[in-house]
C-alpha cells in the first residue's frame, strides 16, 4: 500500500486497531500467519507519512505508534528471558485482537447480507389484526358486601343524642331550701351547711344551685353574704 493511498484514506479508519487490521489484510494471508513485525513497520510508516504531510493525528494513533515502536525493538533484540512483559506475548495478544475484530467485521457483513425484512422479504401489507377483548370478571367478597351495608347504615341512621340521666337540684328547689334554712340560723353559716346529704354528683349540682339561690336571695335583700377573699368560704345570714 503506498503512502498516497494511506493519506487519502486518513479518515477512513475507526481507530488504530482498524488501521492495523486493514494493513494486516494487505498481507493477504490468514490472520494467524501475519507478520506482526511487518505490520508494525507498516503502521509506523503510515504515522510517519501522516506527520510528514503535517496531518493532525488523533492521540490514540500516536499512543499505538509508541507502543508498536517499543514492540518492534523488543522483537528485534535478542530475547531476554527476564523481560517483562514478554514481547512475543504482546505480539500474540495483538494478533488475537486483530483476529477477533476481523471475525466480527465479517460476521457483520454476513448479517447485513441476509434476507432482511423490508428489503428482501416482506410481511403482510394489510393484516386484519388480532383483537383481544378484555372482559372484566368482577370480584367482591361477602365481607365487603356486609361491611358496605354497615357503612351505609351507620351513615344514614338518624343521629340521636342521648343525655344520661343526672341527679340535679334545680334552682327552684335550692331557693326554697336555702330560704327555709337561713331563717332557722342566727349566726353566719357557711354555704356548704345548706346542702342536702347526697352523693358527690348531686352535691356539686346542689352547690351550684344553692350558690345561685344565695345570690338571688341577697339581691332580694333577704340575706347577707360574706367572703373574706376569693375562694375563701362563703357565709350566709338572714337579714335582720
Amino acid at each position: 500500500m503506498s503512502d498516497a493511498q494511506l493519506t487519502l484514506d486518513l479518515d477512513g479508519w475507526e481507530g488504530p486497531l482498524d488501521l492495523l487490521l486493514s494493513l494486516a489484510r494487505g498481507q493477504k494471508v490468514d490472520l494467524r500467519k501475519i507478520s506482526i513485525l511487518a505490520l508494525v513497520e507498516q503502521y509506523l510508516a503510515y504515522v510517519d507519512s501522516a506527520r510528514a504531510l503535517k496531518l493532525e493525528l488523533a492521540a490514540d494513533y500516536l499512543v499505538m505508534a509508541a507502543w508498536l515502536a517499543y514492540l518492534k525493538s523488543a522483537l528485534l533484540l535478542p530475547r531476554d528471558p527476564l523481560a517483562e512483559p514478554d514481547p512475543e506475548e504482546l505480539a500474540l495478544r495483538l494478533q488475537l485482537r486483530l483476529e477477533r475484530l476481523s471475525a466480527m467485521r465479517e460476521a457483520g457483513a454476513r448479517l447485513m447480507a441476509r434476507d432482511r425484512t423490508g428489503r428482501d422479504v416482506f410481511l403482510r401489507g394489510a393484516p386484519e389484526g388480532l383483537r383481544t377483548v378484555r372482559k372484566a370478571a368482577w370480584q367482591a367478597e361477602i365481607f365487603d358486601l356486609i361491611a358496605a351495608y354497615g357503612r351505609i347504615s351507620a351513615r344514614m341512621r338518624p343521629v340521636m343524642h342521648v343525655v344520661a340521666d343526672r341527679e340535679v337540684m334545680t334552682l327552684e328547689a335550692a331557693l326554697e331550701r336555702v330560704s327555709m334554712l337561713v331563717g332557722e340560723r342566727i349566726d353566719w353559716s357557711v354555704i356548704e351547711s345548706f346542702l342536702p346529704e347526697a352523693g358527690e354528683r348531686l352535691r356539686r349540682s346542689a352547690l351550684a344551685s344553692s350558690f345561685v339561690a344565695a345570690l338571688e336571695l341577697a339581691r332580694q335583700g333577704k340575706i347577707e353574704l360574706r367572703q373574706a377573699s376569693p375562694f375563701a368560704p362563703l357565709y350566709l345570714r338572714a337579714r335582720a
Binding site: 416482506f122 401489507g125 394489510a126 372482559k135 372484566a136 368482577w138 367482591a140 361477602i142 358496605a148
Partner: protein, 202 residues
C-alpha cells in the same frame, strides 16, 4: 396439486405484501408480463379450503382470512376486577332492600349513583331488573339474581346478617365516633390510615 410456477408465486407474494387490494394491472406492474388472471385463478383454487382465501372485490384482488375463521381473530379475556366502593354499596342496598328503584337506592346511600354502577352490577350478573314500581313514572326496580347468591355463598337472602348482627360485629360504629377516636392522632396521615382500618378496630 403441483407446486405453483414462479409467475404464480410472484403474484401470490405481491398480493400478500400489498397494503390494499390490487387490480390486475397493478399486479402486472410488479410481476411483469404474463397471464395474471390465470395466476389468480390458480391461486384462488389453491387456497379454497384453506384458512385464508384469495377474493375478488370488484376489479381488485386481495388475500383475506376465511370467513368461517373470523371468530378466531377475536379473543375474549377475563380479567379479575374489584368492585368500586359505589358498586359494592349499591349492591348491598339492593341485597338488603330489594326490590328497589334507583331513586330509593340513592335515598338510602345519600349519594347519587352513576349509570355505570348499575351496569357493572348487571354485567357481573348479580343484579337484574325486577319489574316496575306502580308509582308515577313507573321506575324500574332492581333485585339480586340467583348468581348473586352463588357468588357470595349464600343459601338465601335471609342468610345476610341483620342489623343487630352488624352492630354486634362493630360494623355499625358510627363514622363520627371513629373520628372522635382519631382526633387524638397528631398527624393527618395517621388519621387517614386509621380511618382505612377503622372498621377493623375493636
Amino acid at each position: 396439486m403441483t407446486l405453483p410456477d414462479d409467475y404464480v408465486r410472484a403474484v401470490e407474494a405481491v398480493l400478500f405484501a400489498a397494503e390494499s387490494p390490487l387490480t390486475i394491472d397493478s399486479i402486472r406492474a410488479h410481476v411483469g408480463a404474463g397471464d395474471v388472471r390465470a395466476a389468480l385463478g390458480r391461486l384462488t383454487a389453491d387456497y379454497a379450503g384453506r384458512g385464508i382465501h384469495i377474493v375478488r372485490r370488484g376489479e381488485r384482488w386481495q388475500f383475506q382470512t376465511a370467513p368461517d375463521m373470523a371468530h378466531m381473530l377475536r379473543r375474549d379475556r377475563e380479567e379479575p376486577r374489584k368492585l368500586s366502593r359505589a358498586g359494592i354499596e349499591t349492591l348491598a342496598i339492593i341485597a338488603y332492600h330489594e326490590p328497589v328503584t334507583r331513586a330509593e337506592i340513592e335515598a338510602i346511600r345519600g349519594v347519587q349513583i352513576s349509570k355505570g354502577t348499575l351496569d357493572v352490577l348487571m354485567e357481573a350478573g348479580w343484579v337484574k331488573p325486577a319489574g316496575r314500581r306502580e308509582v308515577p313514572g313507573r321506575p324500574l326496580m332492581f333485585a339480586t339474581s340467583p348468581e348473586f347468591l352463588v357468588h357470595f355463598g349464600l343459601a338465601s337472602r335471609r342468610d345476610l346478617p341483620g342489623i343487630d348482627d352488624l352492630r354486634a360485629a362493630g360494623l355499625l360504629d358510627p363514622v363520627d365516633l371513629a373520628f372522635d377516636r382519631l382526633e387524638d392522632d397528631e398527624d393527618g396521615s395517621g388519621v387517614a390510615q386509621s380511618l382505612a382500618l377503622g372498621r377493623d378496630e375493636p
